[in-house]
């Protein structure tokens, strides 16, 4: 992206008129939206986890698969994993400046969040539907 050395234009003049990328605040807003959702969902998930401590597998499977607990856990997983994906993206963009490494990590970040998130969702659905 660096200009030819002969260019007399300043960096400002080269970008002036392009406007914003039109999506600059999207992640900012989604980060806050999921943050707000995460507070009640995390408190609920922590209460669920505490209530399951020390119980045997049959009891844990039954409680995790019950409708209200499963719905809370699914909402918790979706909101936190999305929040986590955006958050790690910001960290990568802040610290990794080498282009190839940055894009490789951004791709891995998305893959990780989706793989871990959907594995968790699958587990809850399996317990709920009893298959």
């Amino acid at each position: 992206m660096s200009p030819p050395p002969s260019s007399m234009r300043t960096p400002l003049s080269r970008v002036r008129g392009y406007g914003s990328a039109k999506s600059g605040t999207e992640h900012f807003i989604q980060q806050r939206l999921t943050a707000i959702a995460n507070i009640p969902l995390t408190i609920a998930a922590m209460l669920i986890v505490i209530s399951l401590i020390g119980r045997n597998h049959a009891a844990v499977a039954q409680i995790l698969g019950s409708t209200p607990v499963a719905i809370i856990m699914l909402l918790f997983i979706i909101s936190t994993f999305y929040h986590m994906k955006i958050g790690m993206q910001v960290i990568i963009e802040d610290y990794v400046h080498e282009e190839r490494a940055k894009y490789a990590l951004l791709v891995l970040n998305t893959f990780f969040a989706i793989a871990a998130g959907f594995s968790s969702i699958y587990a809850i659905l399996k317990l709920s539907f009893g298959v």
């Binding site: 943050a35 507070i39 995390t42 922590m46 505490i50 871990a116 594995s119 809850i124």
Partner: protein
């Protein structure tokens, strides 16, 4: 904007290295570190849920790992990171409304975040330890 480098090498604004460490600064760094830790810790959540969905043997493996000494240390750290990041997030949501930026408020919020996360983590573990013996 990393690519928008002009031909001239311009000076950078003062950064971390010249500032005396302050509580609010350290809490900002810790917020990011706990967030990144929770990212890795999400694997524990996925493991726990998949173990529960897989059957008694897989769940027993998870339980023995979770109740080992290292497992407990990791889960204690995970609990603290989760609560610290949640309280830190609340602090950020308060700031998003434009409140809490005064010097005294900043300090108070930072201390409440740190002390609150430690106290809540210990309370949760006392409750958890009590339940560990009781339920089946």
């Amino acid at each position: 904007m990393a690519e928008a480098k002009g031909p001239a090498e311009r000076p950078l604004s003062p950064h971390l290295t010249i500032y005396r460490p302050m509580l609010t600064m350290m809490m900002s760094i810790v917020h990011r570190i706990t967030g990144a830790s929770l990212y890795v810790g999400s694997l524990l959540l996925a493991w726990w849920l998949l173990a529960a969905a897989s059957g008694p043997n897989a769940y027993a493996t998870f339980q023995s790992a979770a109740s080992s000494f290292i497992g407990r240390v990791v889960l204690f750290g995970y609990t603290w990171a989760l609560i610290h990041h949640m309280l830190g997030g609340l602090r950020h949501l308060i700031w998003d409304t434009g409140h809490g930026f005064g010097a005294a408020e900043r300090e108070w919020l930072a201390r409440a975040n740190l002390v609150g996360s430690i106290v809540l983590t210990i309370i949760l573990w006392i409750v958890g330890g009590y339940l560990m013996g009781g339920l089946r």
